[in-house]
């Protein structure tokens, strides 16, 4: 055992994180839901549920279904809206030392800009994560994530609207994710989150109906991890800005796969539902991994891929 504990600290777009582990948007509510179960101050960062300009009702139910090693969801970005968020949710964040990242989206270009402006001067929000990748809303969302010109346009607009670190979250539902990654980098993104859910579908064979009301939904969980690791690897190669790896992380070993191919941090999503303490275990086990490997700093692992 080395005398000093190894360092898990990482830096992303100027944000200093005590460790590289944070929840994935939409799987951790606004943070308050999990506050009774774990110490939010131990997280690398806190990422909120996706916000829109006005409150959003979301999709009809059932909204979720379990599939082999994964789950489908079509929540439809139900959220309280940015004003209620600022009023009702940020007081909790004032008491935290962990930086808070606000995830948001718009139905139109103008809406993206307006939400960004509202978040610009809120001191409790350390950074924003721009969702141009949700498969569950009819307008906006995914259109901005699948087309490089549209992606660049929305990033440029949001970039102008605020000074905070700007993370852009990409969809895997494209032919070549590196094209979009380069487009958002050029447009001024400070970092990339990779990936959102994969569009999927599940059928109840007795009723012949889709298992969720929206018919299609976003697939998350262990089932998508190999795809997510591959895309993270490709995006890391394609851009110079830092990348946050997301997709099916259940344990420290899963997180390490992303870090080794070059992700600077990771987000844990579906696993929180299965084990509300999972992020704490991952943080502890990452530290233990460094000790076991005789390393002193998590940055020695990041990008250490040897082919």
């Amino acid at each position: 055992m080395p005398a000093t504990r190894p360092s898990l600290a990482v830096e992303i777009a100027g944000l200093k994180l005590q460790n590289p582990v944070m929840p994935a948007s939409g799987t951790f509510g606004y943070g308050e839901e999990y506050a009774p179960y774990l110490d939010l101050n131990r997280l690398g960062a806190l990422v909120t549920k996706g916000l829109s300009l006005n409150p959003k009702a979301g999709n009809p139910t059932p909204r979720i279904a379990e599939t082999t090693s994964g789950m489908l969801n079509a929540i439809g970005l139900q959220n309280v809206g940015v004003s209620e968020f600022i009023q009702g949710k940020t007081p909790l964040y004032r008491q935290l030392t962990t930086p808070v990242i606000a995830n948001f989206f718009g139905n139109t270009l103008e809406e993206y800009g307006e939400v960004a402006r509202r978040l610009a001067d809120i001191p409790e929000i350390a950074a924003v994560e721009l969702n141009i990748s949700c498969p569950n809303v009819k307008q906006g969302g995914i259109v901005f994530g699948t087309e490089p010109t549209a992606a660049a346009q929305v990033v440029t607009l949001v970039r102008k609207a605020l000074q905070k670190p700007l993370i852009v979250k990409l969809t895997p539902n494209v032919t070549d994710i590196t094209v979009i990654a380069r487009a958002v980098e050029e447009a001024g993104a400070d970092a990339i989150s990779c990936i959102n859910t994969l569009t999927g579908m599940a059928i109840d064979v007795k009723s012949r109906k889709a298992k969720i009301a929206n018919r299609t939904g976003g697939l998350s969980g262990p089932a998508i991890r190999p795809v997510a690791v591959r895309m993270t690897y490709q995006v890391v190669q394609a851009v110079k800005i830092p990348v946050i790896g997301i997709g099916g992380i259940m344990c420290a070993r899963d997180a390490l796969e992303f870090l080794i191919v070059g992700a600077r941090a990771v987000q844990v999503g579906t696993a929180n539902f299965i084990d509300p303490g999972v992020m704490m275990t991952i943080i502890d086990d990452l530290e233990q991994f460094l000790v076991d490997e005789g390393l002193t700093d998590i940055n020695q692992v990041i990008g250490s891929f040897t082919g």
């Binding site: 939409g26 799987t27 951790f28 509510g29 839901e33 999990y34 009774p36 179960y37 549920k49 409150p55 959003k56 009702a57 979301g58 009809p60 139910t61 059932p62 909204r63 979720i64 279904a65 379990e66 090693s69 994964g70 789950m71 969801n73 929540i75 139900q78 009723s207 009301a213 969980g221 262990p222 579906t270 929180n272 539902f273 299965i274 084990d275 509300p276 303490g277």
Partner: protein, 286 residues
Amino acid sequence: MKNYATIILSNQEISPAYFRMRILTPGFAAVAAPGQFVMVRPELGLPTMLRRPFGIFRTGCLPAECEGLPPREYMEILYKVVGEGTRILSELHQGDRVELLGPLGNGFDLGAPGREKLLVGGGIGLVPLFMLGEALLAQGSRVRLLMGGRTRDDILALTEFERSGVETYVSTDDGSFGEAGLVTKVLERKLRKYPDAEVYACGPMPMLRAVADLCASLRADLQVSLEAHMACGVGACLGCVVKGVGHSEATPRYLCTCKAGPVFAAAALDWERATVASDGCGGECK
């Protein structure tokens, strides 16, 4: 509420396809209220990933003298095997590990002490009513359980209710046990006899809807316990919502079954617009 990484004390089939599982949960009884639920998962690999929600049937304690062991606090779930997750649970044995998050959600409002209480259970929906019955008896109310099922196999734990002091009335669709017909028929009769009664119901959606209609027309106070597909159980995923009264696309009033419920005042729900959009058992499992 806390996460218990614990073991199964027993797991037995009590009627075809219905199981009763007793789980070691020190400290649970003191915090669990009637109507709350737990999220359970077997500590196996990943044939199913997500936890499954179950009502708390009862809590208890094995006395200290038993087998020379210290007193052991437990909680029990009653469940019906309907799919992969409940099938896996049904194959677990004494000593197998499970994880249990709870108690979760809001339980029943016990209402006015001394007032007549009618509990309406459809099949496995009787689960949250047992602790409720005990609590209502303890506050000095008269408690009657109206228990409906498709057939006699769907009628569970009656003696347990009776032993605790609850009067029971049974009806089955096929007449194989108790009165033939729907439980709402029995409820209507009782409500006419005790117009002041407070009603508590849990069961398949079509039954709850019928109970809600009946209680609305007879102006009886009704609380219902709902089911919805759940991923987190704590209000984080928004997967489990139901429509509250006054819901519209412009003024969304989605309520989380896990956090605002699973028990709701019937008047708080939008029954007209397909309130519980979760298909749940689709009324099939009753």
